[in-house]
Amino acid sequence: MSHYSLANLVRHGLTGHRGWKPAWRDPAPQAGYDAIIVGGGGHGLASAYYLAKNHGLNNIAVLEKGWLGGGNTGRNTTIVRSNYLLDANAHFYEHGMKLWEGLSRDLNFNVMFSQRGVINLAHSKGQLETFRRRGNAMRLNGIDAELLDRDAVATLVPGMDVSANSRFPVEGGLLQPRGGTARHDAVAWGYARAADRRGVDIIQNCEVTGIRRDQSGVTGVETSRGFIASKRIGLAVAGHSTQLAAMAGLRLPIESHVLQAMVSEPVKPVLDTVVTFGAAHLYVSQSDKGELVMGGDIDGYNSFAQRGNLPVIEHVAACLLALFPQFSRLRILRTWGGIMDMTMDGSPIIGTTPVPGLFLNGGWCYGGFKATPASGWVFAHTMATGQPHALNADLNLNRFHQGRVLDEKGAGPYPWLH
């Protein structure tokens, strides 16, 4: 498994690139491990990587029912940002942002992190004032934020209609210059390869169907490839957290909902930043291939179907044209959906559970891709030490029992409204 470098590229080039080895092994499951992580998305793989790298554990398995990154990691619109209001979220996501900034080098894998900036549009004086408040909170937490007036928005996004006659005239915006996008598959593959190189067993086509426990805590998992023993089990299964937790007798403050995304046909470069239009719900950026990548709201009712419905697609397209009328003749190329854990306060749940040895990494709602490095970092700490890291202490499951919910929008316990 050779290092990826210019020298190796040239060396393999001389032999027609026939010498490259698979980026990770395909081991059969062992009888038991020091730690098992269920779910081979970005979060599970990052957790395994940091368990090995930061905590010296290497007798670890990641169990994935399908293929690596086939869940939400490979379905999201890849926006990375840390522009949160509440301290607990701000510190956690900002730690993630710092990890993103060195990730390609750390993993020796190009995750194509592109800090092209994320702009939240404001369409009224009132909305701009709430952005000012959030921007100030971010700056107090050491995070970059810039309040933009209408002209500044027009300069940064020249193709957008900011005229007074537009359907939703733009008043200004909040910019996080260090925000941007990354290549989603590369994040899964990069962490997988780096974890594998540290001895982690990555086992695909291995579905967890049960969790065994005794008086002292968990003892292992039943899987489609047999029983695998471990006294330390971490769940990182995105939209299926409630299903897995139920196997250990736990109910969670989570509902599963479908979020859709879509891309247009590819065009020449037209948009070099990420624009989010929260008033009506659209976020759009342009991929390196030239496609406009778009998403909006969740469909809004409980769903475990990895596909969505047309009304949301139509709504997203309408929002796009309200901002960029010139895209009216672009065709939508593909649409898809992913099942997400929507929590009762809209913030993630990452930490310990009432079942000894069982740890939960879920409830990522719309925003878990950007959290991948930070999530892996703190989840590894939690699994290795049995205690939450300072950065996820406030994100623990028990916050619901202690009345410390983290509701950025103040929307209340209605998961479909977050």
Partner: protein, 89 residues
């Protein structure tokens, strides 16, 4: 598109309705005696079934009645739709 068979208005598109969530969440019968755990159960914990789900929808662009809909959350098949007031819940 979900086609919801409103008992008053007939089959209508989902865009005429507003979602109200799990229909089996019941407020503690004696709120003044309910302990913290009971409130957490009521406010936050859900079964989140992967399969049949009883849920509330309000026909906001129709008769404005609250309906109790049985729907499979994997296939989206709607198996029942009754007036909430008559369902006894």
């Amino acid at each position: 598109m979900l086609l919801i068979p409103c008992p008053h208005c007939g089959p209508r598109a989902q865009t005429e309705f507003s979602y109200g969530g799990d229909a089996n969440v019941a407020r503690p019968p004696a709120p003044e005696d309910a302990d913290g755990g009971t409130w957490v159960d009521y406010l936050y914990l859900r079964d989140n079934a992967k399969g049949g789900h009883d849920e509330l929808w309000q026909h906001i662009f129709g008769c404005r009645r609250w309906l109790r809909v049985g729907r499979d959350v994997v296939s989206h098949e709607i198996t029942s739709c009754t007036e909430l007031a008559e369902s006894g819940a």
